[in-house]
Symmetry: C2
Subunit: 216 residues, 2 copies
């Protein structure tokens, strides 16, 4: 789960905090999570967290940013690849869903971050940070949007509103975030099966012909 334990050791302490924070925010939600909760989860005290982050919101935002970074890292190589649109769509959706499952705590924070922005009950400075993060998420979604619209032009996908369809696709692909609890001993094959079902559902929803989906 650790983001990248091999970077410079100076940041290693921060990433431990990020992992613990992501876990707590997922378990209890942003508002209901106290800094002491995160500290306890770390076997530490508030001092450690406030040494690295100025506020609870700052900590949360960093989790958000890290989560989005993971997503970009996962699909960037695929988006650039020069392959058929169907292949690209299948690869991107499947990869995205696997990323959701594997980095679940971070992605739940991304989700709540979006809600936090929409609700708008934040300080002006927090709002600025949130808007920037939201742009990151929009950029990410737009990678998929481009692929979707190209697929539509090529007669492979069929839908009316791109925006609504993008929402629907992501809701399907992201859905394991909300109903999948990794029990101890969850093997790779199970995860792949879940991601497969989500991907198939989404691609069908986009209007792809059945023979283009079968082997996802």
């Amino acid at each position: 789960m650790s983001v990248s334990a091999t970077v410079n050791p100076a940041r290693h302490g921060q990433e431990e905090i990020l992992d613990a924070a992501a876990q707590c925010f997922m378990d209890r939600g942003y508002a209901a999570t106290s800094i002491d909760d995160v500290a306890r989860n770390l076997g530490a005290t508030k001092g450690r967290i406030y040494h690295h982050y100025r506020s609870k919101a700052d900590l949360f935002f960093d989790v958000y940013r890290q989560g989005m970074q993971m997503n970009f890292d996962a699909i960037a190589p695929l988006a650039e690849q020069k392959i058929g649109i169907v292949e690209k769509l299948r690869a991107m959706t499947k990869t995205h869903t696997l990323a959701m499952i594997r980095t679940q705590p971070y992605q739940r924070c991304v989700w709540e971050g979006v809600e936090l922005l929409l609700r708008g009950s934040t300080t002006p400075e927090q709002r600025i940070a949130l808007v920037e993060l939201h742009k990151m998420r929009t950029d990410y979604a737009n990678i998929f949007r481009d692929v979707l619209e190209q697929a539509k032009r090529e007669g492979i996908a069929h839908f009316h509103s791109s925006s609504i369809t993008l929402h629907l696709m992501f809701m399907s692909l992201n859905s394991p975030l909300f109903w999948f609890q990794p029990s101890h001993g969850v093997d790779e094959k199970t995860i792949d099966g879940i991601a497969s079902q989500c991907t198939v559902f989404a691609l069908r929803g986009l209007g792809l012909k059945e023979e283009l989906i079968a082997d996802v």
Copy 2:
């Protein structure tokens, strides 16, 4: 939005509170909503709320219950109807989605209520109430599950896990809860169009043939 303004006037005060509470809980989330917020939204004070409800959790649970009741009321007549399974599936999914849009604040509370149960950070008595409400939601979902499995047996729908597919279907149908903000002047035709796209996406996801979906 008012649940039913024509019942006995004794309960009328409570339903005003329910509407205001549902709105606040949707706007800021359960944890971040204070009783004073709800009271302010009512143009009243805490006294009024605590006169009708013993605690913040009790108020929230009543919103949850009311939301589920609305859903049952909406699809119960359809589920009993003696019509073809395809017709029933189309009618139920479309009706459900319309209910989500029309009673959005209540349904967001239902959603958060489920999360509250899964997170499990509640008192024992609260947990009992939540479990009972969750059973209500499970019963509701099972109505759809039965229809789904019958459709699968008849070779109309195609999927592996019923549970996962049920999740995926509801995620699609419920998705307007999270990205649709009713602006002033939102007409019935727009709402119907949104519900239509969600329903088409879900029915496709279930593996229905295109000709069985076209006119939803």
